[in-house]
C-alpha cells in the first residue's frame, strides 16, 4: 500500500471530523482556545496510533485473532480505555493546566467513535505498519480540524491566540483598529456550533467546486 496516500487520506478525503463527522463532542467542547485543541490533538494522536498498532498486532496473529474474534469489540474497548487512562494519568502528572481545562473530555476519548471505528474498519484487517500510518494520518487530520476550530473561536472570541502556555499572540490591536470588542459569543456553546457549521459548509463548497472543475476540464478534452 502506498504510504503517502495512506497517510494523506486521513487528512483530506477521509477527514474524520469534517467529512465523516466523527468526534464532534470534544471538537465542540474544548476548542475555546488553540492550546486546548493542540493538547486534545496530541492525546488523540497517542491513543489512535497505539490503539491501531496493538489491535493490528493482535489481529494479524492467526491464533490470537481466532481467540479474540468473538469478543473483539470489548477487547478493542479495553485496549483503548487502557491507553486513554495512561494519557489521563500522564497529563494529570505533567500537564496539570491542560488536564484541568480538558476535564472530562480526556476519559471521553474512549467513546470517540473515530478510534473504535479505525480499529474495526482498518487496523483489524491490515498490517501493523499500515495501521500505524493510517492512525497517524487520521489523528493528524482530526487534530488539524479541531485546531482550525480553536483558531477561529479564540481569535474571534478572545482576541488572542494561545499556542502553548504563555506563548500567546495578542490580536487586540486589530480589534482596536476596527473599533470593536472580541465577541465573547464565540467562546460559548453558541459560537461552537456556529463556527463548525460554517466550516463544514466551506468544506462542502470547496469539494463541490473542485468536482465541478474536474468535470469541466474533462468536457474540454
Amino acid at each position: 500500500m502506498n504510504v503517502k496516500k495512506n497517510f494523506l487520506k486521513g487528512i483530506f478525503e477521509e477527514n474524520q471530523l469534517f467529512v465523516a463527522l466523527l468526534g464532534l463532542c470534544p471538537a465542540l467542547a474544548i476548542t475555546t482556545t488553540l492550546e486546548n485543541a493542540i493538547g486534545m490533538g496530541m492525546a488523540v494522536f497517542f491513543v489512535l496510533v497505539f490503539a491501531n498498532i496493538i489491535v493490528s498486532l493482535i489481529m494479524s496473529n492467526d491464533k490470537l485473532a481466532e481467540l479474540v474474534r468473538p469478543v473483539r469489540i470489548p477487547v478493542f474497548i479495553v485496549v483503548i480505555a487502557t491507553l486513554v487512562t495512561i494519557v489521563e494519568m500522564v497529563m494529570h502528572a505533567f500537564l496539570i493546566d491542560l488536564y484541568n481545562s480538558l476535564g472530562v473530555f480526556i476519559p471521553l476519548i474512549v467513546v470517540n467513535c473515530m478510534i473504535l471505528g479505525r480499529a474495526e474498519a482498518f487496523a483489524a484487517k491490515n498490517k501493523p505498519f499500515d495501521s500505524l500510518i493510517d492512525g497517524a494520518g487520521m489523528a493528524v487530520g482530526y487534530a488539524l480540524g479541531i485546531m482550525i476550530l480553536g483558531f477561529f473561536r479564540e481569535v474571534l472570541g478572545k482576541g488572542t491566540l494561545t499556542i502553548w502556555g504563555s506563548l500567546q499572540v495578542d490580536f487586540g490591536f486589530v480589534f482596536d483598529f476596527l473599533g470593536i470588542e472580541p465577541l465573547e459569543l464565540f467562546t460559548s456553546p453558541v459560537g461552537a456550533f456556529m463556527v463548525l457549521g460554517f466550516i463544514l459548509a466551506a468544506v462542502v463548497a470547496i469539494a463541490q467546486h473542485r468536482k465541478n472543475k474536474q468535470a469541466s476540464s474533462k468536457d474540454v478534452k
Partner: protein, 191 residues
C-alpha cells in the same frame, strides 16, 4: 428537597447535556432527522442513562474506592455500560417486544454515546450522593430527550426549505443548533 429541585432544573435546562455540555452530539446530529427516531433515541437514552449512572456510582463508591484503584474507572465504566446495554436489549426482547421494536436499533448505538459515559464520570467528579445521582441522571436524560425532540421538529421543517447547496445537511443543522443553544444559554440566569 429544595436542593434536589434546583438540581433537577439545572440538569434539565441550565446544564443541558447537549447544548451546554456538548455530550451526545453524534446522535444529536445523526439521528435527529425524523421526529420518530428522535423519540426512540431519546427514550433509549433516558432509560440507559438512569441505570448506568446508578450502577456505576455504586460500583465506584463501594468497589473501586474500597480497593483503592480509582484509576480503573474509565475501563470499568465503559465495560459496565456496554454490558448493561446488552442486558437491556436481551431483557426488552423477552419482556416487551413492542418496546424492543421501538428502541432496539438505537440501543447498540448508545454504547459509544459519550453522554452516557460522560454523565457517569460527571456524577463521580461532582461528588454527587446516591440520591443526587439518580435525580441528576433522570433529568439530564429528560433534557436530552427534550432537546432531541425540538431539534427533530426543526429539522423536519428545514428539510423542506430551500437551503443553499453548501449548507445542506449537517452544516445548517449546526447553525440551527447554535440558535437553540443561544436560547438555552439564557436559562442560566434563572437558578
Amino acid at each position: 428537597m429544595e436542593d434536589l429541585i434546583a438540581l433537577a432544573f439545572t440538569a434539565f435546562v441550565v446544564e443541558n447535556i447537549i447544548l451546554t455540555q456538548f455530550l451526545g452530539i453524534c446522535p444529536f446530529i445523526g439521528v435527529s432527522t425524523k421526529r420518530s427516531s428522535a423519540v426512540g433515541m431519546g427514550s433509549a437514552v433516558i432509560f440507559v442513562m438512569l441505570i448506568s449512572s446508578t450502577v456505576t456510582w455504586v460500583l465506584y463508591q463501594h468497589v473501586l474506592v474500597t480497593l483503592n484503584i480509582e484509576y480503573m474507572r474509565t475501563i470499568m465504566f465503559i465495560l459496565v455500560i456496554a454490558s448493561l446495554v446488552q442486558m437491556v436489549e436481551i431483557f426488552l426482547k423477552k419482556v416487551s417486544p413492542p418496546l424492543y421494536k421501538a428502541l432496539g436499533i438505537y440501543l447498540p448505538l448508545i454504547t459509544t454515546n459519550c453522554a452516557i459515559l460522560g454523565l457517569a464520570l460527571i456524577n463521580i467528579n461532582e461528588g454527587h450522593s446516591f440520591v443526587e445521582t439518580v435525580v441528576y441522571a433522570s433529568f439530564i436524560g429528560l433534557g436530552f430527550f427534550f432537546v432531541m425532540y425540538i431539534f427533530s421538529m426543526m429539522r423536519e421543517k428545514i428539510n423542506r426549505a430551500p437551503v443553499p447547496k453548501a449548507f445542506q445537511g449537517a452544516p445548517i443543522a449546526l447553525v440551527v443548533a447554535a440558535i437553540l443553544a443561544m436560547i438555552f444559554s439564557r436559562f442560566g440566569g434563572i437558578v
